[in-house]
Symmetry: C2
Amino acid sequence: MSSSSEIRPTAEPGTDTSWLRAVADDAALFDRSSSAERVADVLRRRITEGVLKPGTQLSEELLKEALQVSRNTLREAFRLLTHEGLLVHRMHRGVFVPDLTEDDLLDLYRLRRVLECDVVRALDGLDPDRLEPLREDVAAGEAAALAEDWISVGTANMRFHRHLVGLAGSTRMDEITGRLLAELRLLFHVIATPRALHEPYIARNRELLELLEAGEYTRAADELNAYLLDSQAALLAAFRARA
Amino acid sequence: MSSSSEIRPTAEPGTDTSWLRAVADDAALFDRSSSAERVADVLRRRITEGVLKPGTQLSEELLKEALQVSRNTLREAFRLLTHEGLLVHRMHRGVFVPDLTEDDLLDLYRLRRVLECDVVRALDGLDPDRLEPLREDVAAGEAAALAEDWISVGTANMRFHRHLVGLAGSTRMDEITGRLLAELRLLFHVIATPRALHEPYIARNRELLELLEAGEYTRAADELNAYLLDSQAALLAAFRARA
DNA sequence: AGGTAGAGATTGTTCAACAATCCTGCAAGA
DNA sequence: TCTTGCAGGATTGTTGAACAATCTCTACCT
């Protein structure tokens, strides 16, 4: 702190504000109070896990008892999840886990292709260190695949794509992507065989990462586009073949 | 109704359900009740009009009196607008009209370029009738320019771009675009001279429309990209030169 | 000047009650 | 048989009040 300090990253003592960024990131962790958000967290997990199946209604009366919160707080949690696309609100009827259609599937994938490919294409001059989260996600996916834990493979895949978009440094793209992937999860649960749906993409994630490490952003974008088209086709086929 | 009816569009009477689609679309119009949404409509207009300037706090107590609604309903309206990006919520401090930064400006325009240009590029095989709303918006913009009503020029421009994205038929893109344009409006209000900001683009809207009518989608996309880059640059310059 | 404690104001959360709307089932009529 | 109209119960929409938690500001102390 004082001028006797041997290591001084900046010229003036006390003017180094680089640590502020890290602290500010941590702030979100304990700032996350609010009963409604905690309730939303619980429901979000249950919905993305597939415990709450598409079409089921979330009764205010029952959930109020189960979660021990006020109706108003519960309703606020509903609104949060509605905004994320994980619930739909029908006037005077209540909230329901949405039943996504083929059109939704195509819509979601179209947006994914547009956003993710654009992010990759504009990655020129990227600091290689920023690829570290992607490396971890790819490794986590491969490890989960070895353990044949296909739902962990799915979440690792999700995290990979979320981190990929995060490289753009656009808060709005991050938000949109979060919602897209959450909605996509709803579609995954109508599929019987998660393995066939996730396994092919762990190798392609590795491949994509290597292209990024090599700085081949144009090729990476093309590969990602093909990747997403294949994924869409596979999911669409599985969707049509469902019970 | 009976079999004596002379005009029968389908073979079997009573089996023609083509009109159902049109009626279903109308349903959304009167379903739009809910006090919170009406309150949100009022506040939304005031915010986008610039009456409520960036940085001002919306007190629950005062607005409760002014709008004659309960605090809970008011808070729900706040949440709706927060999700649209027209308000920001600071924990235990209240809601404020956001003060957008240069980073937000660049972020918004980047997303606009990505989405709008992709929409145009994928417009192959478009039914020309669907360009009608765009024609009306361009005409409205030109008329407002003649009357030197620059805020109407601005809204016509907004509608033009919203309808442009609407051609893609993607509910999610529509939603995202609605939010982007609403946020952009917040930025417009820090600018002193709306004329310089909107006038150059009414001719370019016409130009873009003509390219679309001619089916020159690739050229239209390129023109739109340049258009948005110019618009961004102009807005950025005005933003930096503000008081 | 700088930091601290407390008052006052504002928001977060809960509860209870009533109004408005939807769904269900049943009965009356064509 | 099918449709239509009408209760009844159930659920959501909205309100008002109360209390807890947090922030802001002022006055005070060192």
